[in-house]
């Protein structure tokens, strides 16, 4: 299974995603340049974290017009997996691959921390190696992570099992301090209706090795591996 990691001007977690896939998991990976229109036959597209176009105007707003995004959208329409992490989640929302928007953190500060997120639905290609209710410890680092959508959209997401990760405390329940950004309904990650585009604010690619604090992020990559190669 081959991963393609998109580099937008201002992406800065492309390198970390590449490391996670290629060095830690030993899988084939390529960087995809934003001006390119060729996905080079990759199976999974990663929209990495960072500050594409400086996040000027709104996070992800300008990146969504990059030439590569047409191909990414086509790949998604054809059922190909797309993993949007942090800025990648923001880009996916701006591009209409996922519903909702990510707004300025409620406390108005950038938040860099390690949070807990609970797996809300283990029956997806991104979470098959988890159990529903599992709590993963994953770093966050963002200024605009407050997931926002209208009530109807939120209800639909919940009803269809598309809220995949929710911020919780170490014991697996939401509390006053477990949500780092004020996201509605403590939403940390959601999936598309077809189940092939996942967007999340926490950084699983930064949680691949105990040495740097956590290896819980592997479960997401390994789930993909299990499903896609099956």
């Amino acid at each position: 299974m081959k991963f393609g990691i998109v580099t937008f001007p201002g992406s800065n977690c492309d390198y970390d995603s590449y490391h996670a896939v290629a060095d830690v998991l030993g899988l084939p990976a390529v960087y995809l340049w934003h001006k390119s229109t060729d996905l080079e036959g990759v199976d999974v597209v990663v929209l990495p974290g960072g500050f594409s176009y400086g996040d000027y105007l709104r996070a992800g707003a300008i990146a969504r017009f990059s030439p590569i995004m047409k191909e990414v959208a086509a790949h998604a329409r054809a059922g190909g997996p797309v993993l949007g992490i942090c800025n990648g989640f923001q880009i996916a929302c701006e591009a209409g691959l996922l519903p909702g928007a990510l707004l300025r953190n409620e406390k108005l500060q950038f938040v860099s921390d390690r949070v807990y997120m609970r797996v809300e639905n283990a029956d997806t290609m991104f979470t098959s190696r988890c159990e529903t209710g599992d709590v993963l410890r994953i770093p966050v680092a963002h200024g605009d992570g407050r997931f926002t959508a209208d009530e109807e959209t939120l209800d639909r997401l919940e009803g269809e099992g598309r809220v995949i990760f929710r911020y919780v405390n170490a014991d697996g329940v939401p509390d006053a301090t477990s949500n780092p950004n004020g996201a509605m309904r403590d939403i940390a990650g959601i999936i598309s209706a077809e189940g092939n585009v996942l967007g999340l604010m926490p950084h699983p690619e930064r949680a691949m090795e105990e040495l740097v604090g956590s290896a819980d992020g592997r479960r997401i990559f390994e789930s993909l591996l299990a499903r896609v190669s099956a």
């Binding site: 709104r58 707003a61 928007a101 300025r104 953190n105 409620e106 926002t148 959508a149 004020g182």
Partner: protein, 85 residues
């Protein structure tokens, strides 16, 4: 073609939490401006563009707002002024 200066306001949609506006309200209170009841903060974008006439300039900027300048999920926009520049 003439040159126009177009000012656009992009504002958070009603009902969307505006923590920035709230923080500014609170700060104004703490500075003694008690009369403030509400503050909303949006963007003020000033574009200089070439267009055949004011109407075309307005239409062009509307299109920009629809495509890029405003987020349809959370923001509204309004063209504040179109002036010859």
């Amino acid at each position: 073609m003439s040159r126009f200066r177009v000012a656009v306001h992009i504002v958070p949609r009603k009902g969307i939490l505006d923590p920035q506006g709230k923080a500014v309200s609170d700060a104004l209170h703490s500075l003694g401006f008690d009369g403030v009841t509400d503050t909303r903060i949006g963007r003020h974008i000033v574009l200089h563009i070439a267009a055949p006439d004011a109407k075309a300039a307005d239409a062009q900027v509307r299109e920009m707002c629809g495509k890029l300048l405003a987020n349809p999920v959370t923001e509204d926009f309004e063209i504040a002024t179109v002036e010859a520049a």
